[in-house]
Amino acid sequence: MTPSYRYQEKARMGLVHLALLGYTLIALFPIALVIINSFKSRSAIFNDPLALPDTTSFTLIGYTKVLQESDILLYFGNSLLVTVIPLFLVLLFGAMAAWALSEYRFRGSRLLALFLAMGIMVPIRLGTVSILETMVTLNLVNTHMALILVYTAMGLPLAIFILTEFIGQVPNELKEAARCDGISEIRLFFQIILPLVRPAVATVAVFTMVPMWNDLWFPLILAPGDATRTIQLGVQQFIGQYATDWNSVLAALSLAVLPILVLYVFFSQQLISGLTSGAVK
C-alpha cells in the first residue's frame, strides 16, 4: 500500500466518522436537552437552554412538584405490572406453543402456525371495538387484568414465530437421549429445551417489552381510571394540565425516559445483537 493511498483512506474514514457523529448528535441532542434543563431554574431554562446546570441555576423543583402533585410512582407501578406480567406470560406460553409447533407433527399444525402468524402483520388495535365490548362483558374495564390479557395476546405471535426458529435448531439426539431415559414430554420441555433456548428468550423479551411499556392506545381506552393509569397516560395527562409549568413538564418527561435509558445501558448489546441476527432470517 502506498503512503498516499493510506492517507486517502484515512481522510475517507474521517468523513465517515464526521457523518456518523453528526447523526448521533441529532439523535441524542433533543433527549439530552430535556434532561439537562429539567435540573435548571425557570429563568435558566429560558435564558440559556444549552448551558449545563450550575450552582446558581440547579434546582429540583420540577421533580418535587411532579412527585407531589401527581401519582407518578403509582403510574410507574402500574406500567411495571402491565409490562412484566404479560412479558412473563408471553415468554412462557410462547415458548410452549413454539415447542409444540416445531416438535410435533399433527393435523392442522401448518394452519395453526399461519393463524398465529397473522397477528404479526395485522395490528391488534384494529380489533379495539370488540376488545372493549369483551372487557365490558367480563367486567374488566379499568383493571390491570384487561391490559395484561391484551398485551399477552399482542406479544404472542412474534414471540412464537421467533422461538419456533430457535427451538427447531435444538439437535435431535439430545431430545431422543432424554426420551430414552423415560422423561415425560413436559419435563423434557421445561428441564432441557427451555434452558437451551434462554438466549433467544432474552431477545424476544426485549422485543416484547418495549411496545407494551410505551403503549398509549389501550391504557387510554381500556384503563383510563386513576388507579390503573400507566406512566405514558399519566405523563400525557399531567403535561396537559401543567403545560405552562416548564420545570414540571421537563421533569415529568425526564422521569418517563429514565427507566428505558437505564435498561438500555444494561441490555443494549443483547438487544442489538438480537436485532441484527434475527433480522436476516
Binding site: V16, H17, L20, T24, A27, P30, I31, L33, V34, F46, P49, L50, L89, L92, F93, M96, A97, A100, L101, Y104, L112, F115, L116, V122, P123, I124, R125, G127, T128, V129, S130, L132, E133, T134, L149, V150, A153, M154, F189, V210, W213, N214, L216, Q232, V235, Q236, I239, W246, V249, L253, A256, I260, Y264, S268, Q269, I272, L275, T276, A279, V280
Partner: protein, 304 residues
C-alpha cells in the same frame, strides 16, 4: 397399537392459542362483523348491510373526514418512505464499512430514540420547536437561517410534515438496523472479487450491495407501511384527538379514535368505529398482499 391422546400437545398449545384467539383474532373478526351492524338510539343492534360503508364513503361530512385522514396518512407514509428509509440505508452503509472503529457505539446511540415512548418524543419535540422556548429559533439564527423559523407545528401547511419528520427521527433506527444486518450478511468474497475487478466503492454499493439487500428493503417498506397506517400516539400527544389545526394532521388512527370514542359534540359509535377499523384493515391487507405477491416473489431470486 393404540396411541394415547396427545394431552401434552393440548398442554403446550392451549394457553397461547386461547389467549390469542379470545383477545386478538376473535376481536378482529368481530370488528369486521360489527361494521355491518347499526346501533339504534335505544342501544339495540341490528344488521344493516353495507349502510355504514355507504355513510362513510357517501355522506359528504363523513367521506370528507375519511379521505382527509387517508390522504394525510398517505403523505405521512410517503415522507417515511422517502426520508426515513434512504437515511437509514445511508447510515447502515456507513456503519457496515470495513475497518470502521466505534460502529457498535454509533449504532447503539442512534437506535436509542426508537425505544422511547412516542408520547414522550412528541412532547420533547413540541418543546424544542416551541417559539416560546426559542431553542430551535436560536439554533437556526446561529446557522444564518433564522428567517426560515416558523411555528411549524401550529400551521396547517407544515404541521403534518413536521410531525412526519419527528416520527422519522424517532424510528430511523429500525431501517438502519435491518439493512445493516442484511449488509453484514453479504459474503466478503463477493465484495473482494468486485474490488479485484476494479469496481469503485460507489459502484460496488449500487451494483452489488443494493440488489442483494432488495428483499430487506422490501421488508422495511412493508413494516413502515403497516406501522404508519396504524399509528396514533404521536398525533394524539402533540395535537390531541382533534388533530389540528383544522384536521390537517388527522390520520387514520386519530380518525378511528374520534369515530369510536366521540369528541366534543359528536357521540362515539362502536359500529362506525368498526367500519373505520375495517377500512384500515383493508388498506393494510392490500399493502401486505402487494408485498407478498409482487415484491417478495420478484425479489427472492436475488437472495443468497
Amino acid at each position: 397399537m393404540q396411541r394415547a391422546f396427545p394431552w401434552h400437545l393440548i398442554f403446550f398449545l392451549a394457553p397461547a392459542v386461547l389467549i390469542y384467539t379470545v383477545f386478538s383474532a376473535y376481536p378482529l373478526f368481530d370488528t369486521l362483523r360489527l361494521s355491518f351492524f347499526t346501533d339504534s338510539d335505544s342501544g339495540e343492534r341490528s344488521f344493516s348491510g353495507l349502510s355504514n360503508f355507504a355513510t362513510l364513503l357517501g355522506n359528504a361530512v363523513w367521506s370528507g373526514a375519511f379521505w382527509n385522514a387517508m390522504w394525510n396518512n398517505t403523505q405521512f407514509f410517503l415522507i417515511h418512505l422517502l426520508v426515513q428509509n434512504p437515511i437509514g440505508l445511508g447510515l447502515a452503509a456507513l456503519l457496515s464499512l470495513k475497518g470502521l472503529s466505534g460502529a457498535r457505539t454509533y449504532r447503539t446511540l442512534i437506535f436509542l430514540p426508537t425505544l422511547l415512548s412516542v408520547v414522550i418524543i412528541g412532547f420533547i419535540w413540541q418543546l424544542i420547536l416551541s417559539p416560546l422556548w426559542g431553542v430551535s429559533e436560536n439554533f437556526l439564527y446561529a446557522l444564518g437561517l433564522g428567517q426560515f423559523f416558523d411555528a411549524w407545528l401550529g400551521k396547517e401547511s407544515s404541521a403534518l410534515i413536521t410531525l412526519s419528520l419527528i416520527s422519522v427521527w424517532q424510528f430511523i433506527g429500525i431501517p438502519m438496523m435491518l439493512i445493516y444486518a442484511s449488509l453484514l450478511s453479504i459474503p466478503d468474497e463477493l465484495l473482494e472479487a468486485a474490488k479485484v475487478d476494479g469496481a469503485s466503492p460507489l459502484r460496488i454499493f449500487w451494483r452489488i450491495k443494493i440488489p442483494l439487500i432488495l428483499p430487506t428493503l422490501g421488508l422495511v417498506t412493508i413494516l413502515t407501511f403497516v406501522g404508519n397506517f396504524n399509528t396514533f400516539e404521536l398525533v394524539y400527544a402533540v395535537k390531541g384527538a382533534l388533530a389540528g389545526p383544522d384536521y390537517s394532521t388527522d390520520i387514520m388512527g386519530t380518525f378511528f379514535y374520534r369515530t369510536f370514542f366521540g369528541y366534543q359534540s359528536q357521540l362515539g359509535s362502536a359500529t362506525m368505529g368498526a367500519t373505520v377499523a375495517t377500512m384500515m384493515f383493508l388498506v393494510i391487507l392490500m399493502g401486505v398482499m402487494a408485498y407478498f405477491y409482487l415484491i417478495q416473489r420478484r425479489l427472492t431470486r436475488y437472495q443468497l
